[in-house]
């Protein structure tokens, strides 16, 4: 591990020795009206066409050039381009505050040549969504949702209709790393997945990496969903909120002195109220709600030092009076310290806490017990960004992450016939160190190469059994507190390159290896709160994915249109499935219920988007295949994973009709999930039982759906602004299949039938009122 840290040091020493005398301009770029720092804004030196750099997560940029008179160009989607002359003869700081474009004028402004970052950057498989798009896309019941919106992008598929669970390029839903201000969010769903934990009011930036993962990210196989919260308005105190059909939101933000700002945002549903009206006493005595609270505070001591404290707290409550109660939720806290050592060296130190847990309670007299489960992380990260020269920019860092998993704890009450049971807690460290260099090798070729070394250390105390391939215990070892049970070391190379064919087109290629040491055990496709997390151990090996991709990127009409075609191939090792009849609940020997195999996924993604103008939106299409192979399933043959979707098409359009009205619409078409259907039936113990031939040999019928929404902006007022959002989900009432089950017919005795359940078979209207003052 030591050597890896040495590499960047050596590189720095070498390069500075030979580097030509250059000076550096650095600073932050922020929104003029809110002071919110802008992530991914581009700074270029007009006279040096290859000079572009983008701001980092904190809005910081650093650009170097030889002494000279230059013109700086600052561009960012949806913002006015800023042109500023600069006479460069020494290192200095330039901060930019840029203003948003008026949407109706954008047609004219596009002649300002927005950036062609997608062409130049070697990054592949990255999708960024801006919040205004997320806010405009029509969604179920008017609840704007990041996770549902990203599933409209090629290569990303939602688990089931109306569900926030998602699959990226054939990966499972637990193979996505979901970060909120760097903190892992383990269960990003509310109400079994119908809503996500991300209240879009509090969110500034959403990036999803489907491939070509930069070396600073690790720990999951399929994707990184990196979500950043708003810092809060540093110019004015504002209140904004919304009243919707099922929930309301409110956000307060404002400056704190000259140097700081804060943001607090909350959301709560009121589904309970609907329940009270029910005639069914079971429903009217039930609890059903969730809430989210996001808060962030930042303080900039000076140009070189800033701190950020952010937190998220969310909870679901669901229960039936006197019978059953449950609650679950995530808590995250992130403390960050930015320090700018020099114009070229940016440092961020983070201390991150993350927790997910649930409690289930049974209230019946004989079975009165409480079941709880927790996963708690404490994470220390140190990241550096170093602009070595105008052709090398380095990133390196180190990460120490401690996990505590309490997989299940049953507490019985008084007269209960259930026993107390504690499944042993598990402790471990995930450590990583990484290094990457973005190297502008020639005017046309940019290469990003890096290496991540990841390490999993499982520690005692506890008893660790080892199981054979049939799940029988073959040995059992006890370990004392803090003693080493298992140690895994994995080297993860990351590589991507872009070669510019012309000003507006490029080809790219990437290879990356990812490993995963936290595994979710949940033998259901819906997002259930009772998910069980396990670490890699003496039985469970780290999951490994190798992904290769190539792509062609082309911009049209002064970069107003972006087109990309990407091909990917992914190979997965040490994948996990369950034995038939697996018992995962409160089972100390849960690893004995698992079976291991491999997987492969490949596909083609086509993506055409229009980013600017009165009309914007995108068309995404994916042709793909996702398969798994387990010796104990399907005679050891490859079979389609349930998320295998041959065709997946999404069309999203947003049109600004006039100053006050805008219209948006989405259409989706997707091949149905792969499922197992019975190929015969028989009776045992007098119960009709179905027989199956192969795993996932059938398909649910294809999904298709059209959603629309209108937004009406209120008349302009100096003091406040309001808007109405009207939505219609599933416009033509298509009965998309949610599940198909098989049962004995209730109408024709002695026969069996297939029953399709559609959860949203009719058009569902929604209305939301938003305000800001």
């Amino acid at each position: 591990m030591k050597y890896i840290i040495l590499i960047p040091v050596l590189l720095i020493v070498f390069s500075s020795a030979f580097a030509q005398k250059k000076f550096t301009i650095s600073g932050t770029i922020s929104d003029k009206s809110t002071g919110e720092t802008l992530i991914g804004a581009t700074v270029r030196i007009k006279e040096l066409p290859q000079s572009g750099v983008a701001t980092n997560s904190y809005g910081f940029y650093s650009i170097s050039a030889p002494q000279g008179l230059y013109t700086l160009l600052v561009t960012y989607v949806g913002y006015e381009t800023v042109v500023r002359p600069d006479s460069l003869s020494q290192n200095h700081t330039v901060n930019f505050a840029i203003s948003q474009q008026n949407a109706l004028n954008e047609v004219v402004i596009s002649s300002n040549r927005p950036n062609n970052n997608q062409i130049v950057s070697p990054q592949m498989g990255l999708e960024k969504l801006n919040m205004s798009q997320i806010n405009n896309v029509p969604v179920l019941m008017g609840e704007k949702d990041i996770l549902k919106t990203i599933s409209l992008l090629p290569g990303i598929k939602s688990a089931t209709e109306g569900n926030t669970g998602f699959y990226v390029r054939g990966g499972a839903s637990d193979q996505n790393l979901i970060l909120l201000d760097e903190a892992t969010v383990y269960n990003a769903s509310h109400l079994l997945g119908f809503f996500s934990t991300f209240n879009s009011d509090a969110i500034k930036d959403v990036s999803i990496y489907k491939g070509g993962m930069p070396a600073e990210y690790g720990g999951r196989l399929s994707s990184v969903l990196d979500i950043k919260m708003n810092n809060g308005n540093s110019k004015d105190f504002t209140v904004q909120g919304g009243l919707g059909l099922i929930s309301s939101r409110i956000k307060f933000e404002g400056p704190m002195g000259d140097k700081g700002s804060f943001m607090v945002s909350g959301r709560r549903t009121y589904l309970d109220l609907l329940l009270k009206g029910s005639k069914d006493t079971t429903l009217s005595n039930s609890t059903l709600n969730f809430y989210d609270l996001n808060a962030k505070f930042n303080y900039r001591f000076n140009d070189k030092n800033a701190i950020y404290i952010s937190g998220y707290f969310g909870n679901d409550n669901l229960g039936i009076q006197d019978r059953f109660g449950s609650n679950w939720g995530n808590t995250t806290t992130t403390l960050r310290y930015n320090h700018i050592f020099s114009n070229r060296l940016f440092s961020n130190t983070s201390v991150i806490y993350s927790n997910y847990g649930y409690t289930m309670e049974n209230f019946s007299t004989q079975n009165n017990f409480k079941s709880t489960s927790q996963i708690t992380d404490l994470n220390l990260k140190q990241d550096f960004q170093y602009s070595l020269s105008d052709s090398h920019s380095l990133k390196f860092g180190i990460n120490v992450l401690h996990h505590t998993i309490a997989p299940g704890n049953i507490t019985a009450n008084g007269t209960s016939n259930t026993n107390n049971k504690d499944v042993e807690k598990r402790y471990g460290f995930e450590n990583a160190t990484y290094f990457s260099d973005t190297w502008k090798a020639s005017p046309k070729l940019t290469v990003e190469y890096g290496l991540r070394l990841s390490n999993m250390i499982l520690l005692g105390p506890g008893t660790f059994n080892t199981y054979d391939t049939n799940g029988n215990t073959i040995s059992s070892n006890s370990y004392g507190s803090g003693s080493l049970v298992k140690n895994y070391l994995n080297l993860e190379p990351r590589f991507s390159a872009s070669y510019q064919l012309s000003e507006a087109s490029s080809v790219k290629a990437s290879f990356n290896r990812n490993t995963q040491n936290i595994h979710l055990l949940n033998n259901s496709t819906t997002s259930t709160p009772t998910a069980l997390y396990v670490m890699s151990d003496n039985n469970i090996k780290p999951e490994i994915a190798d992904q290769m991709s190539v792509g062609w990127f082309k911009n049209f009409k002064d970069n107003a249109f972006e087109f990309s075609a990407e091909l990917y191939y992914k190979n997965l090792q040490n994948q996990i499935d369950y034995r038939d009849g697996a018992q995962l609940n409160a089972n100390q020997d849960v690893a004995s219920q698992l079976t291991y195999g491999s997987g492969r996924a490949y596909g083609l993604e086509l993506f055409l988007k229009k980013k600017y103008g009165r009309f914007n939106g995108w068309i995404g299409y994916t042709l793909s295949k996702t398969e798994r192979q387990f010796d104990s399933i399907n005679n050891g043959d490859y079979f389609p994973a349930s998320q295998d979707r041959t065709h997946d098409l999404s069309v999203v359009g947003i049109y600004k009709i006039n100053k006050r009205w805008s219209f948006s619409s989405t259409f989706i078409y997707a091949t149905g999930n792969a499922v197992s259907y019975p190929t015969g039936k028989y009776a045992v113990n007098g119960i009709t039982t179905f027989s199956y031939s192969e795993r996932n040999g059938y398909r649910l019928p294809a999904n298709n759906r059209l959603d629309i929404a209108f937004t009406l902006e209120g008349k302009e007022h100096k003091k406040y602004h309001s808007s109405w959002n009207f939505g219609l989900y599933n416009v033509y009432g298509h009965k998309n299949p949610y599940t198909i089950t098989f049962q004995e017919s209730e109408t024709k005795m002695g026969t069996t039938e297939a029953l399709q359940t559609s959860i949203f078979p009719t058009p569902i209207p929604s209305i939301t009122w938003n305000f800001k003052f």
Binding site: S326, T418, S524, T525, T526, G686, I740, A754, Q756, T757
Partner: protein, 272 residues
């Protein structure tokens, strides 16, 4: 328990969010993999004829009449080495009289049919006494026409022996009609307790005055896994539960069905 909780969660959520949800019977083109041997063998501790039933599975679309397999040679071998031939009766049944299984003994079923020899072994666990049945109020429901009747739930009580693994299967009959849910329990959370197992079912509603018969079977671990797997695939469970597959059988080479050596007790209650 987990499945049960998830079902409640699921039903509640779906029920509320999707007041519009609809179900419809659809036609599906399903492959026909019928004609496979189904072995349903049980050996109980009760003296009386022990029966093995051999049938074939049928296409999904056919009426539930299962063709018997005739002309098979069926024997049961006790762990002592003594072999009991079963005599073919009507409709694919093979029986033997005068054999009562003894708890603790392992029995091997051997079926020779269609040129193949199948075998399955099962160990009869010690019997745990079914102490009593009780009934209590379940979920209230609107039975239509403004009548609110209280559905009842029957509870089976037994004392689980401490320190040993026990598995149970309950068969429930309401007014002589078998409930089509699987009730398989183990003692992972109830070892040594006095257990009241609620036989909550979604098949036949139980009201005051109904006669409910409960058979309690003490089964071995492998047979428990078989029934537990079927229970998880119950059509009434939450959506997208485990990928359905044939439950893991103790028959080798693999055939549909199982062979279970178990103890059996029966009690009946008139619901009050």
């Amino acid at each position: 328990m987990k499945n049960y909780n998830n079902s409640i969660l699921f039903v509640l959520t779906i029920g509320l969010l999707c007041l519009t949800a609809c179900e419809e019977v659809i036609d599906l083109k399903l492959d026909d993999a019928s004609g496979q041997l189904v072995i349903e063998g049980s050996l109980t501790n009760a003296s009386g004829p022990q029966m093995v039933k051999l049938t074939k599975n049928i296409p999904f679309t056919s009426t539930n009449i299962y063709p018997p397999v005739i002309g098979a040679v069926v024997t049961v071998q006790a762990s002592s080495g003594v072999s009991f031939p079963l005599i073919e009766g009507p409709a694919g049944t093979y029986t033997v009289n005068g054999l009562a299984g003894a708890p603790g003994s392992t029995y091997t079923l051997i079926v020779k049919s269609g040129g193949h020899t199948y075998s399955a072994a099962s160990t009869m666990p010690n019997a745990v006494a079914l102490d009593s049945l009780t009934s209590k109020d379940g979920r209230s429901g609107n039975t239509g026409g403004g009548n609110i009747s209280v559905r009842k739930v029957v509870t089976a009580h037994y004392q689980d022996p401490p320190g040993v693994k026990n598995q149970y299967l309950f068969l429930v009959y309401v007014n002589g009609v078998q409930v089509k849910n699987v009730f398989a329990y183990d003692d992972n959370l109830t070892d040594g307790s006095h257990v009241g197992a609620d036989l909550r079912q979604s098949d036949i509603d139980v009201y005051v005055g109904d006669t409910v018969k409960v058979e309690m079977l003490c089964i071995d671990k492998q047979i428990y896994t078989y029934w537990f797997a079927l229970q998880q695939q119950d059509a009434h469970g939450p959506s997208g539960s485990t990928a359905p597959a044939n439950p893991p059988t103790n028959i080798s080479p693999a055939a549909l069905g199982y062979f279970s050596a178990h103890t059996i007790q029966t009690k009946t209650i008139v619901v009050k």
